[in-house]
Structure formats: structure tokens, C-alpha cells
Amino acid sequence: MSHTTDYIGKPTNRVDGPAKVTGTAKYAAEFNVPNLLYGYVVSSPITKGKITKIDTAPVLALPGVQEVFTHENVPGFAFLDRSYKDDVAPGGSPFRPLHDAEIKYSLQPVAMVVADTFELARYAASILHIEYDEVAHETELVKHIDEAFEPGRGKTGYKPPKSRGNFGKGWKEGVARMEANYSHHAQHHNPMEMFASTVEWLGDKNLTIYDKTQGVFNSQQYVNKVFGLSKDQARVISKYTGGGFGSGLRPQYQLFLAVMASLQLERSVRVSLTREQMFSFGHRPETLQHVALATAADGSLTGINHFAVAETSQFEDFTENVVGWSGTLYDCKNVELGYRLAKVDVFSPLDMRAPGAASGSIALEIAMDEMAYAAGLDPLEFRLRNYSDFDQAQNLPYSSKALRKCYAEGAAKFGWEKRTAEPGSMRDGNLLVGWGMGGGIWDASKQPAVVKASLDVDGHLTVSSGTNDIGTGTYTIMTQIAAESMGLPIEAVTFVLGDTTLPESPLQGGSWTAASVGNSTVEACTKLGEALLKQAQKMDSPAFKNAKIEEVEFANGQLRLRSDSTQAIVLRDIVQASGETKIEAENSTVLTKLEMLKPPKYSMHAHNAVFVEVKVDPELMTVHVTRVVNAVAAGRIINPKTARSQVLGSVVWGISSALMEESVMDHRFGRYMNHNYAEYHVPVNADIHDIDVIFVSEEDDKVNPLGIKGIGEVGLLGVAAAVTNAIYHATGKRVRDLPVTIDKLL
């Protein structure tokens, strides 16, 4: 039976929409606390070497300059490496800002000027005289393939790839084969909001820190350990985050600098990075890949070989799952996988939207297209012939897998059956038309999250958890889930997040927030429901006297009997009768934590299939992506409106990755030369045309009680490959080094 308070699965406007469209939503650099000082960071012009001299005196002489922080006057804080490790730090020794004279990478922060105004700090930073001894650096990954090594289990979530069967045998058995190298350059997240921390000094080392982050608790524990502050002394707040895409998973150096300056000067301090400095920390690593595939006469894969070498810094071993997906997505007995790292003089790479899978799927899905052509099969038919109904990598059945529906519904919507296979065979007037496809797979995971649900005497429900909303829709979907769980109208529910004084929630990443916080929200509401029933039983209401929780429901603003919905009490009245100002409850994460210890019974993944049309000018070789259909199987979709937006954004990211986006390193200087928004190309409105998003139905009662798989990453997979495959179909040119810029087509 449906209720007026059923919201799950319904397209719902963002509850934070009004704040965002009127400019009242405040981001980290926008808390204008009293007596604020401004820090401006000076970045290293060299890539490797030592600072030999810093002349701070002329800068300090400027009226209004409060301090110049350098490695010479920043006190030693925590000594051990582990104090600088955040929740998602890879193995190695974390970078410590202003720690010593050594320069490890280009644009490394070397000093920070703190002044009364932003204008003065910026000017003063520009005249700070620093001398360096420069030594030779090495930033070219391709020169270091031979030194590449297999990383250990450095970072949470990294799974060393597992080979199976005998690829050599499978390769020989094949009647058709393909083998090729693929590469893409580094990419930087570049969220619209630049990293910033506003630290409010409240006296006696008590700080309120407004930080740009994807997880307030990660920033807090970093500050606790590095500066020896208690949790009470370092409250971290992040109500709105102007994009993350992974860049906010680790605390960035402006947090260290702002907190350090605040503690040293006993003043409130804001440090904002510049757009150029947004290229001075983590990035998606440049990755070189090799794929070899072989098929039998019927088009079934007899062997898959996928090998990747990625860059990492000299000080940390950043790992991601690049090749592992190739052992899962298609059915094949003989799979050989390899993943290695090579150290160069760059900052440590960092998870960037669909980390690993985005890179791996470029190589695998272009290779699948090449293999389809080599085997004389349609790319969709080829994938269907190698459909995996059982996860051979984990040796587990899928909890659910509706990828077949993605293929069928996506292809139907796109009109794939009208495709003619021959490259260059489709035209729109003078323009070459190309149709390509791809797809991918992403983990459906869940982390422990604590949620508190509190109903007040006015009947307003406040649900809170220290999670984040980087634009993903967390505020909105949690409000929907809580409203439906308690049977309240959505206007009577407020979801609060982004504050370390709230119950602890994991970082927002890995597409796990909806499942983690969503299911915890239901649990907290269930507990609140039990408390409300208990209270109702103290009231003069014979119908509920012996009612069990299973016998009641919360709907349309009431507690009522399932068997007789006329027996009902308005929720507000229950709180009022209690004599308290509110009734509240919190979920327990014990079972979730225990669950994580158990070996998994199912392989739990989201999937997608993408169909892309490009039109290419045959003379100028300009490429326009004119149509995209992205069909996604991600379990239950809580809010089709915000989820669709996430997939639309993923498609834009995929187009960007295929055609535009790269951090261009000039190896002579060891620096990304296009470190600004004019030359680091991402799509603008005119680059984006028709995009269709399909959520195929996929019910999954095993993945988690709500059946959520997460939507943040999966939509990106296969998009760049599908664009590249479409370009091949249009032009006959197979480009394997992304992005496919015009020069590679002419």
C-alpha cells in the first residue's frame, strides 16, 4: 500500500537546492570569522633539490605582514610518519609541508606569508626571495618501466590482481587475437572550489576548522595527530563541498598550513589555494597499459592479458585497482593480470573518480572493440558471447547483475541495430558518423556509519551523521529515506551532515555513501520507531498496548496499526506526551563491522553499458559527441533525479577523458604546463549534446537491506573507450593514447 510519505525511488528536488541557487550555501573559504588573517602559499619553481636561502626580512618589513612561515621557523610537530597518515594514505612516508629544505616535486609549498588582508598576503608572497640548489629530476614514466615494482598492500581497498588459468595456453588456442598498448596522461580533479581551510581561533588552542574535504573525521584525526590536539579542540565542519571527485579524500596541505599558522599566531587564519596550486597535489596517475586478447571460433575469449604500469611519487606507493576488473567483467578461464608502480618526481597520485577502473576500462574496452573487429563480430554481440554469469575472479555468484538489461535497453534506445560495421560506412551529409560502445563494473560496498534520528515536540525529525555531500545528493536522499522510514512529510525532516560533533560516518568516496549512511538511517529510524512505540504504550491508547513493532507502521505522519490504519497516533503527540523536548535514537554499527569480517558470499557490483555517437569532420577531424546512451544497473535508485545527474556528469567526464583532459608535463621542467582552467581542457556547455540515462531495474536483497549499489563512479566507466571506439568506427583510426586530440587523427 502506498503512502503519501513514500519518497524512496521518486525523483525529488535537492533539499539543499534553495541554498545553492541563492548563494547562501557556505563553502570552506566563506566563513568570514572576526579578525581573520590570510595565508598565501609560495610554491617551488624547481622539481628537485634544496632550498639554500630564504630572505624573509623585506617581506616581514611590510606593514600588515604578520609572519612568513618556512621550514626554518615552523616548529617540529609530531615526529612519526604515522601521525601524518590520514585514513586513506597509501604506504610510504606522507608529505609534510614546510618540513625541511628538500624539494620533492614541482609546485611544492615552500613558504606561506600571513598578512592582514588577502591582497597584502598575495603581494608579499610574490616578492619572497628564495634560492635553491637544483638537481636533476625524473618525471618521465616511460623511462622507468624496467624499474617498476609490484606494490604491497599499502592502502585500504587495494587488491593485488589475481591471475587464473594459463594465458599462454589460451593465447595459442585462440583463432583470432589482438594485442596493443594504451596510455593516458595524468589528470587533475579540479573541483570548481579550490582547496581552502578557514580556521577560527577560539582561544586556548580551541579551533573550529571549516575545511574543504570529503570527510570531516579524516581531517580531524589528521589535525589531532599532527598537532596533538584533542577532538574537542579541533572541530571540523564541511557543510558544502564544491566538488571533490576524490581530491578531498586526503587532507590537503592548506589544512596543515592554516591550522599551524592559527596555533602559532593565536589568530583565525584562512588559507586558500590558487587554481595553479590545485595541480600541486594528488592526481590520477599517468598509466601505461598492455592488453592481449584471444578468441575461439565462436567468439568466446580464450585468454585475457592485462598489464599496467602507473606512476607514483618518491615517497608513497599509491595503488589503485586498474587491471583486476578485467578478470571479472567477461567470462574467461585464462586470465593473466599484472600491476606495477614506478617512482618519479611528482606528488603522490590520489583516487580520482572511479580510481583504477576508469583507467583500466579505457584499455580493456578499446581492446574489446579491437578484438570484436578481429573476430568479425559486432562489439555488442561479442560482449554478449562473453557474458559473465559468475564472478570467476572471486569465485562467487553475483548478488545481482542486470548488465544484460543494460545492453538490451541501451542498444534499443540508441538504435544500435542500425549500425553498419565497416569504419567510415556511416555518414551524415559530409560528416563521418561513428557508433561505439563500452561498459564497466564497480564495487558495491558499504562502510559502518552512525546516524542519529531525533523527533522533537513540533513533530520535526532531525537526522544527523558526519558524512558529506560533495554534490552527490546525500542531503536529499537521506532526507527521503528518513521521511519514508518515519512516515513524515519531507518538509518535516532535516538531514544534518559535515561536522565532527555529529555521529561518525566514513569518508564520502567509493560510491558507498548511499548504501552506508542510507541503511544506517533506516536502522536509526527503526530504533526511533521502537522508542516512539514504547512511549505510545504509556499513553492512553488501548490499540497499541500490546502491539509489537512488526504490527505497527509509520506513515502519513502517524504511528498506526498495520491491521487497522484507523488506529493511529500523530507522532508529534507522542513526543509531547513524553514530557521530553525530543525522543531520539542512534543505530549501532556492531553488526556491520562484524559483517565486514566475514568472507563474502556474493560478488557485489554495479555495471553499465554505454553507447556513443560521434560526428567527425573529414577534413578538420574535429570530433563532436552528438549522442550518448548510458544504461546503468546499480541496484535501487533512491532519487532518479539526482542519480541521473551523477550519470550525466560521469558522461561529461568520460567525454573529457576521451577528447580533452590531460595534465601536460614538460619533462625538462618536471611541471604540468597547463596548470590552469584555460589550458587544462574540460568540456563546456557547447561540447555536450544529447545524453540519455537509463536505470535498468535491478532488485538486490543481498547487497544491503535497501538494495543500494551506489552511482558515483559506475557511470564513468567505458565512456572514454566508447567515444574512442566510435571515432574508430567513424574514421578507421584507432587511437590508443588518450585524449584523442585532433593531431592524433590528422
Binding site: G17, V21, E119, H129, M192, Q646, N685
Partner: protein
């Protein structure tokens, strides 16, 4: 090993240019500031007037997040000094509508889910308002092109297009009602017609 020197060896100026009084008319309200002459309009809004709805995304006129309306025309406020606008009517996102009284563009952005993180959104909306004021863009292709000075890293472009088209299609209504002006307190301000060419 080689020596590298950062910043000029020449001494900095003995005295910096003094701050000066700057008067600005923003969203129909007069403001008086004492600021360095090289303070950008963007920083004046954000750091001195607490009008943080206008966003800084690059500080180089590359992303459009800082778009405001000056005499009805959209500009990148990061590329303009505050002191240059003493005689201008400046409109920011705070002047287009409030949570209680959203402008049609603001409402359309919510209805079409034309944003995710929300950071480029005020700039997108001010830019769209400027585009409507210009009266040039009529078709989807024209709107896409003329909204291309505003980057949205979340990739909400299709939804932004739909939101702007919806308001454009109701343009007559907007001009008559001026419901998208600054609200009850500043009824006479928005929009200012762009200067005649």
C-alpha cells in the same frame, strides 16, 4: 647542480599604495569600503562585504564562477577591480532572489537539477540572467554556446541548458513581471538594461 632564484632581487617598494575609499552599489544597497586599489571586485564582494554567493574558481577569468551583473551585463568579477565600479549597478546572486522568493532562473535550476556541488551555480545563474538580458540567444545551440564561459566540473550542462531554455521560453512573462528582481526590498533594481550598442 644549478642555482635557481625565485622572485626578484630588487627590494620591494618602501611603501605600498595606500588603501582608499571605494563606494559600491550592490543589489540596490550602497556600500563604502576602505581597500587596496588592486582589490578585485570579486574579493571585495567575498572578503569585505560577506557576499560569498559569488564564487572564486580560478581568479583568472577562465571558469566563470565569479560572474556578476554590472549594469545588467555579465562580467567576470575576478578580472575587474572594485574601484572601477563606483558608478555601476552591481547585481550578485544574492540580489537575484532569496530562498523565500526565488527568481525563475533559480527555481528552474532547482527543478531541472542543474547543479550538483553548487559551486559554479551562482555564476551560471548570473550568466544565464545576463544572456537573457542580452536577448541574443534563442535556440538550444545558441544557449549552449553563450553559456560556455561558465565551467561546471560536475557536468550538469544538459540540465543547465534545460533550465535556461525553460526561462527563455517564458521570457515575455519575466520582462512584464520582473519577478526575478531583487525582491521586495529592492524593487527598482533588476534588471538593468545593457547599454545600447
Amino acid at each position: 647542480m644549478s642555482q635557481v632564484t625565485q622572485a626578484s632581487l630588487a627590494p620591494p617598494p618602501v611603501a605600498l599604495a595606500p588603501t582608499q575609499a571605494v563606494s559600491l552599489n550592490i543589489n540596490g544597497q550602497a556600500h563604502s569600503l576602505q581597500i587596496a586599489p588592486w582589490t578585485t571586485l570579486l574579493d571585495a564582494l567575498r572578503e569585505y562585504l560577506d557576499l560569498t554567493g559569488t564564487k572564486k574558481g580560478c581568479d583568472h577569468g577562465q571558469c566563470g564562477a565569479c560572474t556578476v551583473l554590472v549594469d545588467g551585463k555579465r562580467i567576470n568579477s575576478c578580472l575587474s577591480l572594485a574601484v572601477m565600479h563606483e558608478d555601476s549597478h552591481i547585481q550578485t546572486i544574492e540580489g537575484l532572489g532569496t530562498e523565500d522568493k526565488l527568481s525563475p532562473l533559480q527555481q528552474a535550476f532547482i527543478d531541472h537539477d542543474a547543479f550538483q556541488c553548487g559551486y559554479c551555480t551562482p555564476g551560471q545563474i548570473c550568466s544565464a540572467q545576463g544572456l537573457i538580458n542580452e536577448g541574443k540567444a534563442k535556440t538550444e545551440a545558441e544557449v549552449r554556446e553563450l553559456m560556455s564561459g561558465n565551467i561546471c566540473r560536475c557536468g550538469a550542462y544538459s540540465n543547465i541548458l534545460n533550465a535556461v531554455m525553460e526561462v527563455l521560453n517564458n521570457e515575455g512573462l519575466i520582462i512584464e513581471d520582473k519577478v526575478w528582481s531583487a525582491g521586495d526590498t529592492k524593487p527598482d533594481l533588476a534588471p538593468v538594461e545593457p547599454p545600447k550598442q
